[in-house]
């Protein structure tokens, strides 16, 4: 026999569970802020405990490349420059020496190439080769001020942007990529220049770059502001 008190206690436990499960909920106004607070905590765990500035992502043989990497952008059509010759990457914000770099300037800098696995927040993964300039090389050139703790990467894809912590940006495998699978970066994947790193989920890897700005405050981002984890590290 179940006594009445026991039944009540069981109902008290199962009630909220079935209520929550029945709603297909994002938590509503009461719970969503708390979930986002925990997401901040997870950002901290991801950055301070699980992330290593030196640990390198595994690399793969070129033969394991995925035939077709899906292409993602938020504009209604593939974002393209009207006049690619005038394109520049603007490096600005809390730096001693703001710089403006053309694609040829970037190609003249030391090049990093790797074949790594891409992890999408949706759950798919794919292997591709990327080449470009380490972000750390650019950071050294522009000399950030001591108060600079973040970088905001902005694109010409409907102002899509991402905010990065400096440690992830300085990781040796975080690059400004102008090439993919041994070819120039195609428009579907962020031409002329995109951010790439096997330490972050795909949505953190800003395509169609126009600027990187050093900030003291944590910059938001297109998906991050809608609730996706800010750190987005893998």
């Amino acid at each position: 026999m179940i006594d009445r008190r026991g039944l009540l206690r069981l109902a008290a436990g199962a009630g909220p569970a079935s209520l929550v499960a029945a709603c297909g909920w994002d938590g509503g106004n009461a719970i969503r802020p708390a979930l986002l607070d925990v997401s901040r905590l997870n950002d901290w765990v991801g950055e301070k405990i699980l992330f290593s500035a030196h640990r390198l992502a595994p690399q793969y043989p070129v033969s394991e490349r995925t035939a077709h990497l899906p292409s993602y952008f938020i504009s209604p059509m593939t974002p393209m420059l009207k006049d690619p010759a005038t394109w520049r990457l603007l490096v600005t914000g809390l730096v001693r020496r703001p710089v403006s770099l053309s694609l040829d300037d970037l190609k003249a800098l030391p090049r990093t190439t790797y074949t790594v696995k891409h992890h999408c927040v949706e759950g798919w993964s794919a292997i591709a080769t990327w080449h470009g300039v380490p972000v750390s090389t650019i950071v050294e050139r522009c000399e950030p001020l001591p108060e600079a703790r973040f970088i905001r990467f902005v694109s010409f894809d409907s102002d899509y942007s991402n905010g990065w912590d400096l440690a992830s940006a300085m990781h040796p495998q975080t690059i400004l990529a102008y090439g993919m699978n041994d070819n120039p970066l195609p428009p579907a994947h962020g031409a002329p220049l995109r951010l790439y790193s096997p330490t972050k989920l795909g949505y953190k890897l800003t395509k169609y770059l126009v600027s990187m700005t050093f900030t003291a405050q944590r910059p938001g981002g297109y998906w991050e502001d809608q609730g996706y984890p800010w750190f987005g590290g893998v």
Binding site: G24, D26, G27, T66, V121, P229
Partner: protein, 242 residues
């Protein structure tokens, strides 16, 4: 070894004229066991609901372009009523919130098992194999009387040992797909990112199957155990202790 259950507390058939034997009331579950049991249940429902929401974003397993792992749910969407989070970010935020109390409850429970020594009555060991076969015979009606048992019979031990193993496996595969670069060694241990996702997903169906069988057996075999898991006190067919 376990002492046989005293005959007086057995549910022996009594002559129609004799007064029915009232089984003794015994303390069965420590509050830590009861608390973590129900907390795990609620949290697991939330983990599965948000997990199915996350699954909806990419409902297959294997590197882009295939080959894909065998999956009866490939490209299927689970009903909105059993998903939690509303959309991918909502599902992720629920999943990455509930995972902490889920892990904490698991560790609290495991610590209790170790400190109290109760793991001895729960862990399925090779010497339980013979007893498990006898129990199976009883359930298949190949044997008439219920074999003598301690706090749990050998089949229960097998089930509870398996479910603890499954909990550990689901947490480890979860971390393997949460940080496949930082924890690349763990991801590799499960055969890579997509394989770890695959096992993480299968854990859902083992948990669900366990839950169904567990609840059916509670009501069919030993309804008094439900009260014991709520109040801690047991008055029923199997009152013995290890």
């Amino acid at each position: 070894m376990t002492a046989p259950t005293p005959a007086s507390t057995r549910p022996a058939p009594t002559p129609a004229t004799a007064a029915p034997v009232t089984p003794a009331l015994v303390k069965r579950h420590h509050w830590i066991v009861r608390l973590t049991h129900w907390a795990t249940f609620v949290l697991l429902v939330g983990m599965i609901g948000s997990g199915l929401q996350i699954y909806t974003a990419y409902a297959r397993f294997g590197e882009r372009g295939g080959p894909y792992y065998i999956n009866p749910f490939q490209d299927r969407e689970f009903p909105r009523s059993i998903r939690l989070g509303g959309w991918l970010a909502g599902g992720l935020n629920w999943h990455f919130t509930l995972m902490w109390p889920f892990i904490a409850a698991g560790l609290f429970y495991l610590s209790y098992l170790v400190v109290s020594g109760e793991w001895r009555s729960l862990l399925f060991r090779p010497r339980d194999i013979r007893g498990a076969i006898e129990m199976q015979k009883y359930y298949l009606r190949l044997r008439k009387e219920h074999p003598a048992q301690g706090k749990h019979n050998p089949l229960q031990k097998l089930a509870y040992t398996f479910i603890i193993f499954l909990g550990v496996l689901s947490v480890l595969t979860g971390f393997a797909i949460y940080k496949p670069t930082q924890l690349a060694w763990l991801t590799a241990l499960f055969g890579g990112f997509q394989a770890a996702r695959y096992w993480h997903f299968w854990a859902v169906w083992f948990f669900t199957a366990f839950l169904v069988v567990h609840v059916i057996l509670v009501f069919v075999v030993d309804p008094a155990s439900l009260r014991a898991m709520i109040t801690g006190w047991y008055r029923g067919r199997f009152p013995s202790h290890d």
